[in-house]
Symmetry: C2
Subunit: 378 residues, 2 copies
């Protein structure tokens, strides 16, 4: 017997409560039962996004939500500012390119967070920039950008701030209204503790003005058309019913634990993970680490792919390697969503054993002890 443990930065483990509720016979979406369910989900999402505005739902993975954000806020010939510093920041640029949106990139070296001053300076230099597109937690590098500071720079201007919060919403504080975030994109398979396939998009009042005049082509991802249905507790097209059913359940769990407790839990688990990693003599990759995912530099002489594969094949522990040019150079561990302190212990134990197996000098238990000390304190 070998239990599988999932520590990838998405999909993340799904609580049995959610799995079982989704295993019930399917609801039809044009019924009062589904409308009541959607009404509850709408309210729960407003709490989670910390907004008084509606949060739109799309049957799509997070990237679909990102594309929706671009095509609904921009028009041909308009300019965007794209903060790049990893695969997901780069994705904003790729979407702009696909739709013929001119964009200026702010390129940040992998592992570094963007200097919010650069965003303010770029906006001052070019007031024509209609939208700033940024990641909050950059999953590919483990970096947390300072979205609060970026938002302070952007909210004073007519420019919109669009945030990929796919691995930050439900992990850390993302007070959409308070900070003045204009479009916030989330996905079901991260801290929402569900299978992938449901994108959620919060849209500010300021953003709706841009949405109304946006002229990039859109149909499936049309904000205004979707909102019209949502206000009647309906969806324009057949929704991802089972995921919305699961979402009701996980939103109830989230409400019952309470957002501040959830944020503290994620911070505590990530701090313990980082303590364990560094106690093993390993180096963190991110200079401003995200509590969603811990990126670790592969020690000199070792291959990251071998570490990931050994963890999977010998220990049935699933983590993620590096992507693109980071392939083999980093590995990434997440304790996001349905995770507690036992998960940190399991992950570090498997990592210690794996490091020993691939020939890295490790004293078994050192990482776990460092993590325990953090967990004990908090």
């Amino acid at each position: 017997m070998k239990k599988t443990h999932l520590f990838a930065p998405g999909p993340t483990p799904i609580p049995p409560e959610a799995l079982l509720t989704m295993a019930h016979p399917i609801l039809h979406h044009r019924t009062p039962e589904y409308e009541a369910l959607l009404a509850e989900v709408r309210e729960g999402l407003k709490v989670l996004f910390q907004t008084t505005e509606e949060v739109l739902l799309f049957a799509a993975s997070g990237t679909g939500g990102m594309e929706a954000a671009v095509v609904n806020t921009l028009s041909p010939g308009e300019k965007a500012l794209v903060i790049r510093g990893g695969k997901f920041g780069e994705r904003w640029g790729e979407i702009c390119q696909a739709y013929g949106v001119n964009f200026t990139p702010i390129d940040v070296p992998y592992g570094k967070a963007v200097d919010p001053g650069l965003v303010a300076a770029a906006l001052a230099k070019d007031p024509q920039i209609a939208v700033v597109l940024s990641t909050y937690s950059e999953t590919s590098t483990g970096v947390l950008h300072d979205i609060k500071a970026i938002a302070e720079a952007v909210r004073k201007t007519p420019t919109l701030l669009v945030v990929d919060a796919i691995t930050s919403l439900g992990v850390m504080d993302v007070p959409m209204d308070d900070w003045g975030l204009d479009v916030v994109v989330a996905g079901s398979q991260k801290a929402l503790m569900l299978p992938p396939g449901l994108a959620m998009v919060g849209v500010s009042r300021k953003a709706w003005t841009a949405v109304e005049r946006s002229r990039l082509p859109k149909y499936y991802f049309d904000f205004a058309a979707e909102q019209k249905h949502l206000l009647k507790n309906q969806s324009r097209f057949t929704p991802a019913i089972s995921l919305v059913v699961g979402l009701r359940e996980t939103l109830r769990m989230i409400r019952s634990e309470g957002l501040p407790n959830i944020f503290r839990r994620h911070e505590r688990l990530a701090a313990a993970m980082r303590a364990g990693i560094t106690a093993l003599g390993l180096e963190l990759f991110a200079e401003r680490p995200s509590p969603a995912v811990t990126a670790v530099l592969v020690p000199r002489g070792l291959d990251g792919g071998t570490i990931v594969k050994t963890l999977r094949t010998r220990h049935r522990v699933i983590i993620a390697g590096g992507q693109g040019s980071l392939k083999g150079k980093i590995f990434r561990l997440a304790t996001m969503g349905y995770a507690d302190s036992t998960d940190v212990v399991v992950a570090l134990s498997a990592l210690e054993l794996t490091l020993a197996e691939v020939g890295y000098p490790v004293k078994l238990g050192d990482g776990i002890r460092a993590a325990q000390e953090v967990l004990q304190k908090q």
Copy 2:
């Protein structure tokens, strides 16, 4: 105790085998386990689509697959021919309009099937038409268009035939390669017996030529980029993992029953349903009825909404009403996917009781007997 029965034309009932397999802990999509699963699904989809080409998967509902078909086969300034005769045919036109594609509609009165000769004539008159967009089974009217005959007209020309097979694939014969269908769009929540949220798109060799030169903007729904990943048993973005897991299960069920048996079963159930309906003195709406869904004219003096609501509230039987201008005028019953002869009996029994309750003269049991006679014969 009141059991709920779902006879809507999507979502359709999900077999317990599929519900339970989707309730397992989620797989990570960047693992050999998932790749093996996707390899099996790829093969199963080729059997189902009756094609040697790949069938692309998108985390989206069927409409997302339709949009994908348009943006991947057309370029700005190109022309399409749209067969409209119901809400879903009209959707093709709406997508074209959203993307600035010029289109000529062939408008068919609701309830009628298109004359394939009109398609041939339109292509002869305007050889610039790049793509014909059609529904096979028009779910909103219960009509089955003669796609085989349309395909015969189109395949002789350089024009592509794009088919919304969302309620036909897995219900009736859709031999993609044999008939020369170029793009075939299907959705998970119909005869595939799964929750909504997974679109499947078969693409012919002829279509790939158009895809390569297509210049409509696309990112999330990019065929060529997705295909590149699929050939390695991967997906470009996070896939709808749980639905793909369920799809492996339902494809196994489909393979085990065999396509010809599945088509015969659907035809037999629909024939029994139609016999029951007409034995009650009700009139079918579609002149060329689809085996996927039976559309029934609401008798004079009655309201379709009341029939649908009475079935739902008094009998917990979920059917669909009419959409748009057909609201209140028709109702629709489906025995699609996970359905057998007992379902026809249950549906007709509830319908008979409902008709009696809303004041329509009905002799209880007459519809069921007529259905039984059909079921007995075949």
